[in-house]
Structures are given as C-alpha cells and as structure tokens.
C-alpha cells in the first residue's frame, strides 16, 4: 500500500451541499443507512455485509448462538476512536466508523439486548442506520465547529492505518494454511489459486478462496 498522502488544499471551500459540513452529515446518514441495511441482509440471507470476512465472523459468532461481546466491543471502540480522529484530520475513516462501528458493533449490541426487529426488518434497519449516521455526522459537525484549526494532531491515525493494512496481508497465507488442514484437495486448490493470483499481480486471498472452492466442489468435505 502506498504511503498516506498529505491532503492538498487547492480549492476554495464553497458553502453548497457538495462542500459544506452539513453535506457531510447527509452523506454519513446515507452511508450508515445503506451499510446497516447490508447487515440486515446478512442477518436474513447470509450475504451483503460490508466488511472483512474476519470482522463479519465476529458478528456471525453471535448470530449462531455465541457471544456478541467481541463484535460489540470491537465495533464500538473503533467507532469511538474514528469519530474523534475523523473530526480532527478531516477524513472520517469509513471502514472503522461506519463499516465496523455502525454495521457490526451496533447490530451486535442491539441483538444482544434483544432488539432483533431493528436488524431483521429491512425498513427498520434503514431507519436505524440513518439515525446512527445522522448522530455521527452531527457529532463531527459540532466538534469541527468548536475545535477547527485548534490542533494538528492525528492521534496516531497513521499508526493504526499502517497496522490495519499490514493485517490484510496476513489473510492470504492464513487462508491457505486453513485450506491445507481442511483436506488435501482443497489445500492444493487453494495453493494453486493463490499462486496464479500472485502471478497475475492480484491479491492472494481471492485466488486462495476460489481455488479452495473449486476443489471443494469436486471433492466435498463435511462441516
């Protein structure tokens, strides 16, 4: 991944919807509504969650009868850190705040206290997400209003981003290792898939999954 680039300021800020702070509140509302509804689809149909396999797996653990604790704590603390950082650096990190906080952490909390309809019903999910997004947008709107240009601190955002990106690199090899323990044909498929993707300069995890699944089709394993 390339180094984080310093944002450039070479355009005057106009006060229309597309550039003003209140426009930001509108897009966080829309984004949160959309991804929260995505989690609703995941809950109902098993597809459509807007996050990494590893993070969705935490929510899945709860849905399948385990504890929602990991998903709730992970999502909520990411949300908190990102809101704070987002208002200070000018870019709200979409992945941490909305994809993980709103779409994984909050549903985990809601499901663990029994507020199932808010997640299960598509319309209610859109509404819940919109309210959460509106709240996040407004918090940042007001933090910016009161603290603008007071601080140049990044609160270690670069450190966290670096670690986050490094994590993604581990997924490919981990998938191959896991495929190798599932069965030999699946392990072979996964290895070949990953090697081909690497040769084509594509991210390895995709190839590892596709290879494993193709071999799994011909040589099925039981859960």
């Amino acid at each position: 991944m390339s180094e984080p680039t310093q944002p450039t300021i070479d355009q005057p800020t106009s006060k229309d919807f597309w550039h003003a702070d209140w426009g930001f509140v509108v897009i966080t509302t829309m984004m949160a509504a959309g991804v929260f509804a995505g989690t609703s689809m995941y809950y109902n149909f098993g597809v459509g969650a807007f996050n990494e396999v590893a993070i969705v797996a935490m929510l899945k653990a709860g849905i399948e009868g385990g504890s929602y604790g990991a998903a709730a704590a992970f999502g909520a603390s990411f949300l908190f850190a990102r809101i704070l950082e987002g208002s200070l650096v000018g870019i709200l990190d979409l992945g941490g705040s909305i994809l993980t906080g709103v779409a994984i952490g909050v549903p985990a909390i809601l499901l663990s206290v029994g507020a199932k309809p808010l997640v299960q019903n598509f319309g209610l999910a859109l509404l819940t997400g919109a309210i959460l997004g509106l709240a996040i947008g407004l918090i940042i709107f007001f933090v910016r209003k009161f603290t603008i240009n007071q601080t140049k601190a990044t609160f270690g955002a670069d450190v966290m981003m670096g670690a986050g990106n490094a994590t993604g690199r581990f997924l490919g090899p981990l998938i191959i290792l896991s495929a190798a323990t599932a069965s030999i044909p699946i392990g072979i498929g996964s290895t070949i898939g990953a090697a081909l993707f690497y040769a084509w300069k594509k991210p390895i995890p995709g190839g590892a999954i596709i290879g494993a699944m193709i071999m799994g089709l011909f040589f099925p394993v039981k859960l």
Partner: protein
C-alpha cells in the same frame, strides 16, 4: 422469492452507499477544509493512479474479484468495495468521459457516478453469491472461518501491539496496559491497543490538554462499563479466591438483560 427481495434491497443499498462513497471520496482531495468520508489509503491509492482511467479501473477490478470471492464464500463484501472498487471505478468512468484529472475532485459527479456503479456492483455480488451450490458454501466456511479466527485473535492484536510499541514509548506503554486489560475484559486486545495508540500519540502530539484528558477519561470509562456488563468484576473476585459481596451481585442482577 428470495432472489427478487435480495435484488430490490441490493439496489437500494447500492444507491445509498455508492452516492455517499462518491461524494465522500471527492471531498477527500480538499480535506481537512471539507470534511470527507473515506480513508487515507483510498486517497493515497487514488493519487497513485495519477488520473489514468485504466489504472483506476484495473486497480478496482483486482479488488472486485477478491470481494466477489469473499462474498460467495462468506457473505462479506470486504471493505474494499467501498474503499477501492466504487471510488476507483467512479473515477475511471468520469476520466474516460471528461479527460480532466481534476474531475474526480467534483463531489457531485463522483456521487452520481458512484451511485450507479454501487447499484450494479452490490446487486451483482449479492445475487450471484446467494445462488451458489451448498458444497461450495461448506468449503468456504471450512476454510475461511478458521483463517478469520486466527486473524482476529492472534494476528491483529500482535500487529497493532507492535505498531503501538514502534510508534513511541508513550503509545507503547498505553497500548500494552490497555491491550492486556482489553484482552481480559473484552476478549480481544485490539480495541485496547487502538485506544492506547490514540491516547499515547495524542499526548505526544499536543500534550496533556483538555482533549487528551477527555479521551483518556472516556477510554477508562469504556473499560469500566464493558468490564461491568461482561461480569469481569465478579469473575476476577472469584478467581482471586475472594468472595463477591452480595450488593455487587445484586447490582449485576438489576442490569442482566438475558
């Protein structure tokens, strides 16, 4: 019919998310003056494509295949759909049409283009992956779930922890203490290490101001509250061989939701 329901919901979600991604990404180029929604890595990668539509498109395509595999396998889009596929494909589309590098900094055009792309991408991913055979899904679960578990429980905590230590003495110290506490209280060290980096680097950069004190206070409150609600206090007293006072047990009884 499931497929129709999935298709309709996907179109709504794709339009909402796509539009927000496009506007948010275009605003990144003028941050922090305009508050943006996106990620530093997205900004870096979009700058790296240097206004070449083919670069933007193929970069997005690589991650699209990855996202597709992950959706088929585990129902998870990966964050790459919003971070990489949608913004880069919207940029590619606009650059082909307008041939002006600055066009991707226009929130209106980016928003509308990304909304259209969002509808197509989200609908495609959801519809194709909800109609695959059972044996494929079993394989995917068998392969992905253990890999994901190891990633969450081992790789992520260690990487964040080492990053905290490398980032300086203060973030290393806060990261270590909060990380250990978080592993015990929340079951995963990552949230604690992240908060440790936040506090440590914040103090490094601006000192012990009111802002950093509030952050530290909020972090401690988060630990205390989640410790209480997860029954950490009772378990700890028990494991130290101490009795649990009845008022504490009663207090827990008041808040038990299950």
């Amino acid at each position: 019919m499931h497929i129709i329901e999935i298709l309709i919901q996907s179109v709504i979600i794709g339009a909402l998310v796509g539009f927000a991604v496009g506007v948010g990404a275009a605003r990144m180029f003028t941050a922090p003056k305009t508050q943006a929604l996106g990620a530093f890595r997205t900004l870096g990668e979009m700058n790296a494509a240097e206004g070449d539509p083919a670069s933007h498109f193929s970069f997005g395509l690589g991650f699209f295949f990855n996202a597709w595999a992950s959706t088929v396998g585990a129902g998870a889009f990966t964050q790459d759909v919003t971070h990489r596929v949608l913004p880069n494909w919207a940029a590619a589309g606009l650059l082909v049409r307008y041939k002006d590098k600055k066009i991707i900094q226009n929130p209106k055009l980016m928003g509308l283009t990304a909304a259209v792309i969002g509808v197509v991408v989200v609908a495609f991913l959801n519809v194709t992956s909800s109609s695959i055979p059972e044996s494929l899904q079993v394989t995917a679960v068998k392969v992905l779930v253990p890999a994901a578990d190891q990633l969450i429980n081992l790789v992520m905590p260690i990487l964040f922890w080492l990053a905290a230590i490398d980032a300086g003495h203060r973030s290393g110290m806060f990261g270590t203490v909060f990380g250990g506490l978080s592993a015990m209280i929340m079951g995963n060290a990552v949230p604690g290490v992240v908060l440790g980096i936040l506090v440590g680097k914040g103090v490094d950069e601006i000192g012990w101001t009111r802002t950093t004190k509030i952050i530290l206070g909020a972090a401690i409150a988060l630990f205390v509250l989640s410790g209480f609600f997860r029954g950490f206090d009772l378990t700890m007293l028990q494991q130290f061989g101490l009795g649990t006072p009845s008022w504490l047990t009663n207090l827990h009884g008041v808040f038990t939701v299950k």
